[in-house]
């Protein structure tokens, strides 16, 4: 299945892109996607504990099951206001 991954803020700067498509096996979850991202960009490992994830514009747990076409976002610590 194909997943659209979006990065913001610190995560975007470290990985060097703001959007990328990932091909994942059926039944993959958010933690697997995060693991794939960190394998490709090991510097993100330092931030792992601070990163929240969102699926289709809603915060999701790291064990959220993904489905084809989902839009996943890596949400570093927010600082709006």
């Amino acid at each position: 299945m194909r997943i659209r991954l979006k990065l913001f803020s610190v995560a975007k700067d470290i990985a060097g892109f703001d959007e990328q498509m990932f091909e994942l096996a059926q039944n993959a979850d958010t933690s697997l996607l995060l693991q794939r991202l960190i394998e490709a960009h090991p510097a993100l490992a330092d931030w792992k504990g601070t990163l929240r994830m969102a699926v289709n514009w809603e915060y999701a747990t790291h064990s959220h099951k993904l489905k084809d076409g989902d839009e996943v976002a890596i949400i570093p610590p927010v600082s709006g206001g």
């Binding site: 803020s9 610190v10 470290i14 809603e58 927010v78 600082s79 709006g80 206001g81």
Partner: protein
């Protein structure tokens, strides 16, 4: 990036690249049935951790930020009897001293207005996927809100 705003009968939610028109927000929440309006204006500060800030830059995951802002207003209206509520956040480059966020609510009585306004700004700051990048007078820049982990910074070459 485009401006996005949605206007409903009892709420104003927007992300904007432009200067926030505070009077328009105030006018929006003004109703004859309201005994009080509470408005919070967050402005960009010229210092952070002892360093001089020259410019702030905001980015958002726009569709999710708008969705969360809407959910916050729904929740505020569930908790307090509000007449109208508005949440407007600026994006892009914001010079020091200008409004980056405006929250306004109207209610029959002031206590509800105060409480709801505080809830909205406090929760917005924790939940909305919006990020602030501080540009310092020494030419460096860094994403704010990462103080609990190792700080990430780099020299900004102004590209």
């Amino acid at each position: 990036m485009r401006n996005q705003s949605e206007h409903r009968k009892t709420e104003m939610i927007a992300l904007t690249l432009n200067v926030i028109d505070i009077k328009a927000v105030l006018d929006y929440v003004t109703t004859e049935g309201s005994g009080g309006i509470d408005i919070f204006v967050g402005t960009t500060r010229n210092h952070s951790d002892g360093k001089t800030v020259t410019l702030l830059e905001y980015e958002a995951y726009e569709p999710m930020a708008l969705s969360i802002m809407e959910q916050l207003i729904v929740e505020a209206k569930r908790r307090w009897p509000l007449n109208r509520a508005a949440l407007v956040h600026r994006l892009g480059r914001v010079p020091v001293g200008e409004a980056s966020v405006v929250v306004a609510v109207s209610a029959a009585h002031r206590s509800e207005a105060f409480e709801a306004c505080r809830f909205l700004i406090d929760t917005l700051k924790k939940e909305a996927p919006i990020w602030k990048r501080e540009h310092f007078s020494d030419g460096s820049a860094e994403w704010s809100g990462n103080n609990t982990q190792k700080a990430f910074s780099r020299t900004d070459h102004g590209t």
